[in-house]
Point group: C2
Chain length 652, copies 2
């Protein structure tokens, strides 16, 4: 009752979409996206209400207004386009509009033949009030209209003045909004660059890419590989940590507890005499080399993504400089990482509960800033779920405020709610459970959740068929057909996907031991040599798939993903479409790498825009083969020894 | 970064249930209810977390804590009982618990045969810290335990000390909660009296209940009818407005535009020479009579519910005293109610947009207070959706703060979101679309929405087969069987139901004109005489049904409502159960009033707790007939000429 207008704000606004956790977090879009907003709005009584969508770039003084259209059941809708990177704000504002109510009632009274003299005078009063809110010629026009409406001409003429469209739009422009309701605080959108929605990642260990067999590869060597990677269609080159590697408790080949002389250690054992998170492992090269790598990548329209792993080897400079950032044990030693009874004595985790946490947060954020200053715009963050949630929100928000083009990939293979929380906090993309979803039901359920529920407002999946940590049993036992099937699934289920490169394209599939998902002779612990051009490499297929992804806008987003019925448990069928262009791509994948499978595929032709009795052309984008289909059912057969997948383009 | 602990609060709490509109509104319960609360909670990393449910009566200084159990997927659950009327608050608090984490790790280390010396010292430190937070003998006990754990006895003995249950509960009691996360502000519950959940309403026009035929009935006459109404099982006696009735533009019989001499007018045309909303129509009696009526009703455990209709006849004292509370027309007259081109010149609506709105709000609230002071604890509010939403929240909240036993029934026959909004704002019960839901699909869909969705947290349906404004076509054309079917549906689908009494029990079914839902010779405009004891009255059946409702706790709540498959579109089957007592009632109603219908009913026996090959006894509560059923299917046949419904009790 304190505010003098509060009780007179009669419109209620509810249930605005999109919204993440009731507005606690921004939703995500990319530049150029059309943002459709819906809200419930209603007032007491029978008066007409006007509902407007307001949006602005965060920080802009003025709101841009769009009228919201009533769709059904007190729900309203409007849309706007986000053009620039950064944060946008939006809200809904609505008010009871006496002029619209009066105008509507007037037509009904007139139709009933009632005398309108007093009603015209009520209109005059409203128009005169609007004239006082207007200025210049608009004010004059309103004043003149009011005079006409007051004049003594016949009712029909006055009615025409009252119902004039130009008057209506002037009245709308100068509506009395003193009692308007607005949803506060405004909701927010983080607008990323389009690569946040559509990207193709390649992970490699630079030390294995040297020119001389057996030597430690250098960043400079890598530069020469960039054109070939770009030609294969990759736009993010992701490097595991490039920092100096610790020597204390260094792991040997195949994760041996004790390293042998010459063992190179894991890049995730960060920090040594040559420095910590802001230094480059001397054997990889110099900061100059790294900057050159980034610049060259940029000329190929590629990002270099750095792996940021906030943990330290015992040799890390932080350990001496900031012993208070680690947990101390009663015997005076520093607490190493553990998963009792397992001990990881080569790794010291930070103690985020330490008293000096604010300095720690600032230092860690400055690590990102350091690499941003060298030209990095993309980070893959190692195990973000083992650092405080608040840290990520604070860090990513602040960094993106200065550099809205930044991208952060969350490597949190953990429980679903934690993965989603990290996405809400600001991570641009996220690893998923894709690697462990290998049958039809699992894939359909999981990707329906990711692409058709509210999760998609914040969580952008990035699909990896393998990583240096994960060689799934399906790949271990399925041979080349399994690799191809998983490749096609990743590249078409996910607008964002990536691979741990050489091992994947060369179909490396031997685990360290049975039941393990670790690679034998993993690059994590040793330098490997890859014959990138061996004849059975998947390189040409990968390049072709990535080209299809670039040519088919339907594959560049996840929101239209739809699964289709196909009468075989080993065959999975799904499509993506792009409504504006009509692009439509339909994938059928044989999940059984050991034998041919066939079945009847069922399509909703009306949805594709094809009439039931019309023959239509279907092109398999993978091999160029054409088919003529008719009707909603098609017979599909896939022999994995030939090719375990179709990727049909159906021109509309 | 301002707060020094904020960044160290590592637990996230999400998605607490129950909650209305994200916590904007309180949810509703009745005294004695068990409130089950769920929440997601998780922290970064792998440390153990402790999650507690906190609740208190609003205004109480101390929170009561209940440990929340982990159920699945980072979700936790606990419950508490609300005993008193009024507002309760609840929230969830959680923290990373180092002691629990340490204790769990210790068992794993011990099992692996590791040396625990340093781990014991870490424990000692935690226990000593807890001792400093504790007092008296608990502090001493903790200090002694720390000493034992530090001592030089063998590892097995120290392990026993470390894992002691008593130590664990002491440590829980003095846990370090300095970095705990709590959901703020707390969520709220409005706790009503049980009648809010289970009530049986009877509406009558006192002026028709006079002792002398044709005379204007008086409140005193009504007092003599109370025992019979109580015996019939009604616990709310609802009276249309009892205030002085205006004479200007008074409507005649059957809503004639012009009243004839002697026409009594509509009780909703409020206000005359004898006063307004705080006065009693002189022909009904005096304030003393009214207080006596309320007191007598109370002795029969009945509420008298007053109809509060905030609108004025042109003769209302407010019109002279506060002309600024109404909208003035340019010709100096006051704006009457309209639905253009229809005019209701006998009614002046308040102008809630007037400048003096605060005085208006206070005055209208004082109307409720006036009747509360006379002994009223239950109000039926006429058309609340034509008054500002904010007014209801402010009014009901303030009134219930003083009198938490108050009940408000919202008579808003309008769009669904508006009806739900009014419930969120504080209305205790709400009229529904029940009257217009007459076929099986409509009934099942609507009552599934009302009882199985989140709507039920705030919206308590009150089902009316008729009202003085609504004589549905189904009743007009279906004869006595239609009345019985709708009666059984209302009384069993709804724990709260009511009827506009004499017209219903006497099966009055003639509309004013074809296609109209208005009664011919409606009591709204004239005095009627009812032969309450005519032989074909539904009185005995109503009394029996209300008795069944009192005897079967399953029928006293709506949340367990479940529809069952029955192979006939004219038969509807549903059940309610009460888990604590095992009470289970199953209704089958024939919706076709014109002919017998039969079909196979399907039951989920496991849910009822009956094994498939066990015969079970079924009693029709309406006629006492017993059946022996076996298996999940039963054949049901209902002849409406005999009885259109079964109400089966299945003892478990």
């Amino acid at each position: 009752m304190e505010e003098t207008t509060l009780g007179r704000q009669r419109v209620v606004i509810e249930n605005i979409r999109p919204r993440a956790d009731g507005g606690r977090f921004p939703v995500k879009r990319v530049a150029g996206d059309r943002v459709t907003v819906e809200a419930d709005a209603f007032a007491d009584g029978h008066d007409h209400i006007i509902v407007r969508l307001l949006h602005r770039k965060a920080g802009a003084a003025e709101w841009v207004e769009t009228p919201m259209e009533s769709i059904f059941n007190d729900r309203y809708r409007a849309a706007f386009t986000v053009e620039e990177l950064g944060r946008y704000q939006y809200t809904v504002e609505a008010w009871v509009d006496r002029f619209h109510t009066w105008r509507y009632d007037l037509t009904k009274r007139a139709a009933a033949g009632q005398d309108l003299a007093i009603d015209f005078l009520i209109g005059v009063e409203m128009i005169e009030q609007a004239a006082r809110r207007a200025q210049g010629h608009e004010a004059r026009e309103l004043t003149q209209t009011a005079a006409k409406l007051r004049s003594d001409v016949d009712q029909a003429q006055r009615l025409e003045v009252a119902l004039d469209q130009q008057l209506l739009s002037l009245m709308d422009h100068h509506a009395d909004r003193s009692l308007a309701t607005a949803h506060r605080p405004p909701l927010e959108i983080v607008v990323d660059r389009p690569r946040a929605r559509f990207s193709t990642w390649y992970e490699l260990f630079p030390r294995s890419w040297g020119k001389t067999p057996g030597s430690h590869g250098r960043l400079r060597d890598l530069i020469d590989h960039l054109p070939a990677l770009a030609e294969m269609g990759f736009d993010v080159l992701y490097l595991p940590p490039i920092h100096p590697i610790g020597t204390a408790y260094r792991k040997g080949k195949n994760n041996a507890v004790t390293a042998q002389p010459g063992d190179v250690g894991s890049p995730w054992g960060i920090g040594g005499e040559a420095g910590g998170h802001k230094a480059i492992h001397p054997e990889l090269g110099t900061l100059d080399d790294f900057r050159t790598l980034c610049e060259t990548a940029r000329t190929h329209k590629m990002d270099v993504a750095l792996d940021i792993a906030f943990q330290c080897s015992p040799n890390h400079p932080y350990v001496k400089e900031h012993p208070d950032w680690f947990r101390n044990r009663p015997d005076g030693t520093i607490q190493y990482a553990e998963n009792p009874p397992k001990k990881y004595q080569d790794i010291y985790p930070f103690d985020f509960e330490c008293r000096d946490w604010q300095a720690l947060w600032h230092e860690l954020r400055s690590v990102f800033q350091f690499w941003i200053d060298q030209g990095v715009r993309c980070f893959r963050v190692d195990n973000p779920h083992t650092k405080p949630f608040g840290f990520w929100e604070w860090t990513i928000t602040a960094l993106k405020e200065k550099n809205p083009e930044l991208m952060f990939l969350s490597e949190a293979f953990t429980r679903p709610k934690i993965m989603y929380r990290l996405a809400k906090l600001g991570f641009t993309q996220s690893y998923t459970y894709f690697t462990w979803r290998n049958n039809k039901r699992e894939l359909a359920e999981y990707f329906t959740e990711l692409t058709q529920s509210d999760v998609r407002e914040v969580f952008r999946p990035n699909l990896w068929p393998n990583t240096p940590d994960i060689l799934h049993e399906y790949l271990q036992t399925g041979g080349r057909p399994a690799f191809i099937a998983r490749l096609v699934l990743a590249a078409t289920l996910g607008a964002n996907y990536g691979m741990y490169g050489p091992a994947f394209e060369l179909c490396e599939n031997v685990p360290r031991e049975p039941k393990s998902e670790e690679y034998l002779n993993s690059e994590k612990y040793e330098i490997r040599q890859w014959n990138l051009y061996q004849p059975d490499s998947l390189r040409p297929l990968i390049a072709r798939l990535n080209q299809i992804r670039r040519e088919h806008v339907a594959l560049q987003s996840d929101w239209t993903l739809q699964f289709h019925t196909i009468g075989n448990e080993q065959l999975i069928a799904y499509s993506k479409r792009h409504d504006e262009s009509g692009d439509f791509v339909l994938a059928v994948v044989n999940l059984n790498p050991h034998g041919a499978e066939s079945g009847w595929l069922e399509l909703d032709l009306a949805e594709i825009g094809i009439s039931t009795n019309q023959a239509y052309r279907v092109v398999d984008l993978l091999n160029g083969q054409e088919f003529a289909w008719q009707g909603p059912r098609a017979f599909v057969s896939l022999d994995p020894a030939v090719m375990p997948a179709h990727l049909f383009y159906i021109p509309r």
